[in-house]
């Protein structure tokens, strides 16, 4: 072993049992192996400590970002509640042509959130999206994977808004009422026959106890809403989602 340093004790006469057990040369320093062990322990300890400090700091940032996203989602829901119930769909769907006060006058489905940066895949640099069961008429049939038979709840009725047909399986043969066979409407549709677990669909949205494939943007009494905030966090992309369902509840004036 190579002595690393010298003891400063000039008269190393053994006094205690511990000292007696030491090597004959009381002037010996610390060996390299001892120094290495101590240094290793110190490095590991300081590494653990640093990781705890960094993790705490990260958690604080993440919590702050989550709180900002949650507040933004809550705020947009409160703003939606302040609208006339029957106009909420038209105001917050992706279609600018059905806005009650003229094209592109409504808040729309995508919004900025101050303090949150968009992800690289954001199409418009915005982070908050209002997701409704809304589909452009021209592509609705492509969006819906399995045609959903119009049915009185619990009993299959038929297709095309419960107008005709019966049985099971493919039901209307893949046609979607209000789309197939006719000229597509100009605006997006609110559909209750779309299969989407996130929006708790299919579900009777107009209260007629029939799940049909019609556009219910004018007669819905329930409106499923998913607010999705997707942002580029300090430590990677993050998503916050909140689901709710609005219903007409205000007192009559």
């Amino acid at each position: 072993m190579i002595p690393m340093a010298c003891s400063s004790d000039p008269d190393p006469a053994p006094r205690s049992g511990a000292r007696r057990r030491r090597h004959e040369n009381p002037l010996r320093g610390t060996t390299l192996i001892e120094v290495m062990v101590v240094l290793t322990i110190l490095v590991v300890a300081s590494g653990l400590f640093s990781r705890i400090v960094i993790a705490t700091s990260r958690l604080r940032d993440v919590n702050r970002e989550n709180a900002t996203a949650a507040e933004a989602a809550r705020k947009i829901l409160e703003e939606m509640r302040n609208q006339e119930f029957q106009e909420i769909f038209e105001l917050y769907d992706p279609d600018p042509n059905d806005d009650p006060d003229g094209p592109a006058t409504a808040p729309g489905h995508r919004h900025d959130v101050p303090g949150l940066n968009p992800t690289s895949d954001s199409p418009d640099g915005k982070v908050l999206e209002v997701v409704l069961p809304a589909f452009p008429p021209a592509t609705a049939s492509k969006l819906i994977g399995t045609p959903w038979e119009a049915r009185v709840l619990g009993t299959i009725q038929g297709s095309g808004g419960g107008s005709s047909g019966s049985g099971s399986g493919s039901g209307p043969g893949g046609k979607l009422g209000g789309i197939a066979g006719g000229s597509p409407p100009a605006t997006w549709e609110l559909r209750e026959d779309y299969q989407d677990e996130e929006l708790s669909l299919p579900r009777d949205l107009n209260g007629d106890s029939i799940l049909d494939s019609l556009d219910h943007s004018d007669d819905y009494i329930l409106l499923p809403i998913l607010i999705r905030v997707k942002w580029q966090g300090r430590y990677g992309p993050r998503v916050y989602e909140v689901y709710t369902m609005l219903a007409e509840y205000r007192k009559s004036s």
Binding site: P10, A67, E78, N82
Partner: protein, 196 residues
């Protein structure tokens, strides 16, 4: 052991070592002092932010059950108010809505104090101060007749309400000072829609 091997430190060596240690100590003290100061400021900021959020939540929960027709004043952007009076529904009895006593949330004569009051200016008056740290003006706003913080309001106070239909936008800025006199302010904003 030879005499040379047992020699001690020279005065020069000791002086150099002490000087190096001194420099190291001063640098270390400066770093620790800066870190400590930053930590204190951040802690104060976090405490203030928590307080602002708590006060804002209390205001929001108080107003969320209010009758929108009872909101007074119902100032709409660009107008605003630093106080709002309202009533909440307690339920229905014999087919009639039972309304609670009138309540007020606003800034006290000492504008740093935000209070909630029930039956204000009556013998049954109850007043609770919710915070004593309200800023004179909302964050980034100056008293110059302009909308400095681009929120649609001009020269707004540290607490503002503006009403839009059944919705109330609440803005709050709290301010505090650190031990070394630096000012820290935190702002919160939310929107609620009255449910009753």
């Amino acid at each position: 052991m030879s005499r040379l091997g047992r020699r001690g430190y020279t005065l020069i060596e000791l002086a150099v070592a002490l000087a190096l240690l001194g420099i190291l100590f001063v640098k270390l003290t400066m770093i620790i002092s800066e870190a400590s100061k930053a930590h204190r400021e951040e802690s104060a900021g976090m405490v203030l932010e928590d307080q602002a959020q708590q006060v804002l939540d209390r205001i929001a929960y108080a107003l969320i059950g209010a009758d929108p027709d009872s909101l007074n004043p119902s100032s709409q952007k660009p107008f605003f108010s630093d106080r709002i009076a309202f009533r909440v529904s307690l339920g229905v009895e014999d087919g009639e809505i039972v309304w609670g006593d009138p309540e007020v949330i606003g800034l006290a004569p000492d504008p740093a104090q935000l209070f909630w009051a029930r039956n204000e200016n009556t013998p049954d008056e109850q007043i609770v101060i919710w915070t004593r740290a309200v800023s004179e003006l909302l964050q980034d706003e100056l008293l110059n007749g302009s909308d400095d913080n681009v929120n649609g309001l001009t020269d707004e106070s540290g607490l503002t309400f503006d009403v839009d239909g059944d919705s109330v936008t609440i803005r709050l800025t709290l301010v505090t000072r650190t031990k070394d006199g630096r000012s820290i302010s935190k702002s919160k904003e939310t929107v609620i829609t009255c449910r009753n």
